[in-house]
């Protein structure tokens, strides 16, 4: 008797789950602009549909999530436990693969971490049962629910491999990353994906420089965004990026703070180059590279000031300190590399000399900027001094500094 009751109960559960899955998929069909999904915390079952659809937002009440997931999960795993041949037959057949997609939609919205379910979707895409554009939309929906989902980002990269780079809406992809990063602090996968976008669309460099400056001003403790900006800066210099008629005021201000006055009798670029690259054979470096050097150092200098301002506004924070060091190091490193007639470092380079290996080869004493930086930076507390010693090799005691 009890077994019969259990079977009946399980059947009822199954029927209910099937209905909920149908309701969810009905929303997918009805709303082409669906853009968010969430589980609505509601532990009691009020005997009405747990599927909520309001203005392009889809919700599923939490009381049914475990049952629906369990049911969808079992169905999908049974499919996968068949032989390869049997699975292929299901994928080829329109009705059956549509059914599979319905379970996948629900299972992945509730549990986006299940790699195998994304694989089934990939197979359906390969067999033209799912369209790439709809899949991009689906993965964006998953990201609205779980902004940290690496599976969703990885899926998007895989989908884009079928499209040519110039057909892809890269700014839209950046906004997906930005939305995910905004919702979830230090969102590793969102920023990593953003680097992938930048690699494919280097034309976005300028807008990225602007967007990231806004982002770090607002998200003061999100170190992932600061790290990305550091990579952006290196990439800009690597690509020789610069902007015409740039006043370079941040760089001038930074040098002024180190008590280095720019010669007012020559033009701005020349004055700065004299301070940063004294006694340097300019003919050995191309003019565009020098312009890029000044432009990027100026961005770095404005970030130094930003960190100082933010510290004054919000108090001491690890992010401000770390970013200030990183951008300062950028300026020092690019100066030293130019002075040693070395090419700029590629972001993805392995090997090649690190800055602290190069510095000892170098006579810093004849370089007013480096001397000034060393003097100022080593006077900023023990911890920072130790950092300078490790990263800028400035720890050596000099008689002039005593």
């Amino acid at each position: 008797m009890e077994d019969e009751i259990n079977v009946e109960f399980n059947n009822e559960k199954k029927v209910l789950c099937e209905k909920i899955i149908r309701d969810i998929n009905a929303v997918f069909l009805k709303d082409a602009d669906l853009n968010s999904f969430e589980i609505i915390p509601k532990e009691t079952n009020c005997n009405k549909s747990p599927v909520v659809h309001v203005e392009h937002n889809l919700g599923l009440e939490s009381w049914c999530a475990r049952h629906v997931y369990d049911h969808a999960h079992r169905t999908l795993i049974s499919h996968r436990r068949q032989t390869t041949q049997q699975q292929l037959r299901t994928l080829q057949q329109q009705q059956q693969s549509d059914a599979l997609a319905k379970y996948l939609n629900v299972a992945l919205l509730i549990n986006p971490d299940v790699t195998t379910f994304w694989h089934i979707r990939r197979q359906l895409v390969q067999k033209n049962r799912l369209s790439i554009n709809k899949e991009l939309q689906f993965s964006a929906l998953v990201l609205s629910m779980k902004p940290k989902s690496n599976e969703a980002f990885a899926y998007r990269r895989w989908l884009y491999s079928f499209q040519s780079a110039d057909a892809i809406d890269w700014p839209h992809e950046i906004s997906i990353c930005e939305r995910a990063a905004d919702r979830c602090a230090s969102n590793y996968h969102a920023w990593s994906h953003r680097q992938w976008v930048l690699q494919n669309a280097p034309c976005l460099l300028q807008s990225e420089l602007m967007r990231t400056e806004k982002f770090i001003r607002k998200h003061i403790s999100d170190y992932s965004s600061y790290h990305y900006r550091q990579v952006l800066l290196s990439r800009a210099y690597e690509l020789g990026y610069h902007v015409a008629d740039e006043q370079l005021s941040s760089l001038r201000d930074l040098l002024a703070e180190y008590q280095l006055a720019a010669d007012p009798n020559v033009d701005v670029d020349e004055a700065l180059l004299q301070l940063l690259l004294p006694n340097h054979d300019r003919s050995s470096v191309s003019a565009p590279r020098l312009r890029s050097f000044l432009y990027c150092c100026n961005v770095a200098a404005s970030d130094v000031r930003l960190c100082v301002e933010q510290r004054a506004l919000y108090g001491q924070r690890e992010c401000f300190e770390l970013h200030r060091r990183a951008v300062l190091k950028f300026i020092v490193e690019q100066c030293v590399r130019l002075l040693l007639y070395l090419p700029p470092v590629s972001v993805a380079a392995s090997g090649g000399s690190q800055l602290n290996e190069l510095l000892p080869q170098f006579d810093c004493e004849s370089h007013p900027f480096l001397v000034a930086v060393r003097r100022a930076e080593t006077a900023q507390g023990e911890k920072h001094k130790r950092w300078c010693h490790i990263h800028l090799n400035f720890g050596k005691e000099r008689s002039q500094d005593a």
Binding site: R66, Y69, D70, H73, I77, S78, R80, R81, T84, N111, D113, V114, T115, T116, H119, R122, A154, W158, D182, R183, C184, A185, S186, Y188, W191, S192, Q195, K218, H219, I220, S221, D222, Y223, S224, H227, Y228, Q230, V231, G315, Q316, R317, E318, C319, L322, R325, A326, K329, V345, V347, A348, A349, S350, G351, Q354, L355, R386, W387, I390, H391
Partner: protein, 344 residues
Amino acid sequence: MDFTTFVKPSNGGASSENENETTKKLEFWKHVEYIENHGKQEDDYEYCMTEFLRMSGIYWGVTALDIMGQLDRLDRKSIIEFVKRCQCPNSGGFSPCEGHDPHMLYTLSAVQILCTYDALDEIDCEAVVRYVVGLQQPDGSFFGDKWGEVDTRFSFCAVATLTLLQRLEGSIDVEKAVKFVMSCCNQTDGGFGSKPGAESHAGLIYCCVGLLSLTQRLHLLDVDKLGWWLCERQLPTGGLNGRPEKLPDVCYSWWVLSSLTIMGRLHWISSEKLQQFILSCQDLETGGFSDRTGNMPDIFHTLFGIGGLSLLGHSNLKLINPTLCMPQYIIDRLGIKPQRLTLA
């Protein structure tokens, strides 16, 4: 709007109620019970939701119990049978559970379980070697599976799997694998990310340092820079985070500590405070460890809590090998000698 930006700096997240407690002790038998009973309730929702990583879950449980000297509490035979069933006959790789697709992550976990049980002869090892070798890319990196995601975690899994199978020589291109890992090193802090240019992350640092340890290439590390960065992970409460400005998490007690141990710099961290933090993450009712004080425990954080305590020299625990995260006596039995830098 990201409200976490208003979180006060350097708080560590510890709840105040624990601060007045005297030195906590390790709730040894509670943890044994917790692991033993893990997954026994058939309709456990969490268990169903985590089926996609079951192989790793078993590895975490097996390793934690073995470190506690209680491995015989688990059914060796049924675990080995489970592992065998998860080997994919086509690719040679291992799935996390039946019905799921094979992946590098679960291939390592499967091999780790079988090494612990001394049962490698139960599976097709040659097929595993072929699977791993087949996933290496021209730039030395590794896919996680045939669908093509690259991540330094997979590099570590590949090298660790082959090391445990005693097949690192003459299989993959080790030189290129090392080169790829080094291309993921960030000059600004000496740390490593998942791909070239990616942010330094303690978990990925463990994977990269571990790979360098297994390939005897630790000299490529800038120990001062990286050691510094790793020590900066310790917060005033004693716990360790994985990246700047993040909350402490018990699993980082493993990844940061094991990396420092491999680098010969374990003493750069305050062990007393860390031990207190790890112990505060114990669930005194159910057993097991949670990510931080007051949260729900899980098997993942339980292994890394136990592992961290073992590295810190806790008396009731067997030695754990920092490179492979397996009991040291197993690594000795296999004759494997991952490189470790001397204390400095």
